[in-house]
């Protein structure tokens, strides 16, 4: 189980998200409590439509929750009606997103898609490009560095997207089915990488997945049922 003596990187208290209003309203999250600690890779499971993506989007300040409280790295970023003012800076500096689809920018090449993030954070071009090249190498797509996005395979694009999520070394990474477009070998490689990253940089990582291939690697996971998150222990199978 988690090391409760330390301060959580992510803390959710009674998080509620309601889509729409009146009779057509959908309450996707009905009071989620969750804690993720630095250096942890936590799985988030649940049937389709249970609210996994909704939860990540609330966490990542992409959509506003309806009620509850979010604390990231000790800072409250959302509390019922209130939210911090600079959401973009929060996303840029503190959160790495890996979505279900890569969402790369088609008019930039692979390297630029990654180096754009450090540049947006004010890093000099050379440093940003070097960082991007390093990450592409680690993710085994360095040979596609100058390629147009439209010329990448689904797996290559997803790995570029993962590199982008890591580019600013964020303390939190939110991954929504990151391994869906990858084969089982690459899926495990990505999971190992995320685990190494968590260990090395004390990154807190949440991975939403349906992938039976990688579920056993989690030491701890949450399962969403009826709009609430239920904590479970995982197998924590080591990477060979």
């Amino acid at each position: 189980m988690a090391d409760h003596a330390k301060k959580p990187a992510i803390k959710l208290e009674g998080l509620v998200k309601r889509y729409g209003s009146g009779s057509s309203a959908v309450e996707a999250l009905k009071g989620v409590d969750m804690e993720v600690y630095p250096g942890e890779v936590v799985g988030l499971l649940g049937p389709s439509g249970s609210g996994k993506t909704t939860l990540l989007q609330c966490l990542g300040a992409v959509i506003d929750p309806t009620a509850g409280r979010i604390t990231l790295g000790g800072d409250v970023t959302f509390d019922d009606e209130w939210k911090i003012s600079d959401l973009r800076e929060l996303r840029r500096d503190r959160i790495g997103f890996i979505f279900q689809a890569p969402y790369l920018i088609p008019f930039l090449d692979a390297t630029e898609n990654v180096s754009l993030l450090p540049m947006l954070a004010g890093k000099p071009n050379s440093e940003a490009t070097a960082r991007a090249m390093d990450l592409l190498k680690v993710l085994d797509v360095a040979h596609r560095a100058g390629a147009r996005i439209s010329e990448l395979s689904g797996g290559e694009a997803q790995r570029v997207a993962i590199a982008r999520a890591l580019a600013n070394n964020p303390p939190i990474i939110l991954a929504d089915e990151p391994t869906a477009p990858l084969d089982s070998q690459r899926s495990l490689t990505v999971m190992r990488m995320l685990n190494e990253l968590a260990a090395q940089y004390r990154t807190a990582i949440i991975v939403v997945t349906h992938d039976d291939n990688i579920i056993p690697t989690f030491k701890r996971l949450y399962r969403i049922r009826e709009g609430k998150a239920h904590e479970e222990a995982g197998e924590g199978r080591p990477f060979s």
Partner: protein, 398 residues
């Protein structure tokens, strides 16, 4: 920082350049329209300055000789030449008509002048001045005539002996200078058939053709079929004399209208060209509106076609300033490329126009500033749409 505007353009370069070309042609047309107006004003100035004249004396209550018709008797100059401050006078006659050159009709303004007097064409670019008293002509180069060419004006053949430039009537017709005597004849003598007809009618009239008074018919003929009218008297004042004072004296004592150079410019530019200027002005306004609409539409479409990428940029933390800069740079880029194309095509096609097109640097400068303002205003719509899009739309949410 990567230049997002440029990278996006590079991705759809052909379309962007095509739009720039379209805008450029519009800007070219706009510059040319302005040039047409400038050309008209400049033609008017050249016409006024090209005759070494300080005062135009014309028929009372008219704006002659260019803006309205004016008729004076050709001895009216005698009353003027004696006035203090007057150095020289010259009678002139103007008429616009078609002349025949190499079997083709050419529309010209014929100017009759007295040799060595104000009204004589000054800047000869080829050939020599008119030296004989009959049937020699100096033509503006815009007529297309060459030295030595034969030109038919009504019943007579004229030889082009010299060429001048920038002598164009306010209607845009190039001028053809002949002696006053020739011009008077051309102006008042009709074609052969008409003259024969008139003579026969006169001879058949028993009142004039009286056997008892042998000289009467020829005296009446001489009066009817010759002409002692001119359209204006051009006056050159002695150096050091105020043309205004001399003009006022003529106005007061001679029952004639007298215009100074400033008055004449005023008449040509403010009165004669005024309607054309308004016409051109309206055109410029329409072209500006059309250009704005085109830029706005283009920038808006360009922005909407990458609204998803803009949402992604927001999602990964790009500030509004990055997004606004991208859109604005693309809009201004359109303007700059369009302006360069417009200026280039205008410079290339201006000489082809039949009328003088004067492209002024200051107009180009003004057009550039207006283009930049237009591009900025035109991108407001796109920028608003871009700033409104939620980062959640990038991942399919709202």
């Amino acid at each position: 920082m990567i230049n997002l505007a440029y990278r996006d353009i590079a991705n759809g370069f052909g379309r962007y350049m095509l739009t720039s070309l379209g805008l450029g042609l519009l800007i070219g047309v706009t510059l040319t329209m302005a040039g047409v107006y400038r050309g008209m004003v400049d033609d008017a100035r050249a016409l006024i300055n090209g005759s070494a004249t300080d005062i135009w004396v014309v028929q009372r209550h008219t704006l002659g000789p260019y803006a309205e018709s004016s008729t004076l008797h050709d001895d009216a100059w005698r009353g003027i030449v004696g006035l203090p401050g007057v150095a020289e006078t010259g009678n002139v006659a103007y008429l616009t008509m078609q002349v025949k050159h190499r079997e083709k009709d050419v529309r010209v303004m014929i100017a009759g002048f007295e040799s060595g007097k104000p009204g004589e064409p000054m800047r000869l670019v080829a050939g020599r001045p008119v030296t004989r008293s009959h049937y020699e002509a100096v033509a503006d180069v815009k007529t297309g005539f060459q030295v030595g060419d034969r030109v038919r004006i009504r019943r007579h053949e004229y030889t082009v002996v010299g060429l001048t430039s920038r002598m164009v009537s306010s209607g845009g017709d190039p001028m053809l200078f002949i002696t006053l005597k020739d011009a008077q004849e051309v102006q008042f003598l009709k074609d052969n058939d008409a003259i024969v007809g008139d003579r026969e009618r006169l001879a058949a009239n028993p009142q004039f053709n009286r056997p008892g008074v042998p000289g009467l018919l020829s005296a009446v003929e001489a009066d009817r079929f010759s002409n002692h009218n001119v359209n204006a008297i051009l006056v050159r004042v002695a150096s050091g004399t105020d043309a205004r004072l001399v003009a006022d004296t003529i106005l007061r004592w001679k029952h004639l209208q007298a215009y100074t150079r400033t008055d004449m410019e005023q008449i040509l530019v403010a009165k004669l060209i005024a309607t054309s200027a308004k016409q051109i002005g309206l055109f410029l306004v329409i072209l500006t509106v059309v250009s704005t609409a085109i830029v706005a539409l283009t920038v808006y479409t360009m922005t909407m076609s990458k609204i998803k990428e803009i949402a992604v940029l927001k999602l990964i933390g790009a500030k509004n300033r990055v997004i606004v800069a991208m859109i604005l740079q693309q809009a201004l880029g359109l303007g700059v490329i369009g302006f360069v194309i417009g200026k280039t095509v205008a410079t290339f096609w201006a000489p082809i126009f039949p009328k003088y097109v004067l492209l002024e640097m200051s107009d180009a400068g003004r057009a550039f500033v207006i283009t930049m303002v237009i591009c900025t205003l035109a991108s407001i719509l796109a920028i608003r749409a871009a700033l409104k899009v939620s980062p959640a739309t990038a991942i399919g949410g709202g």
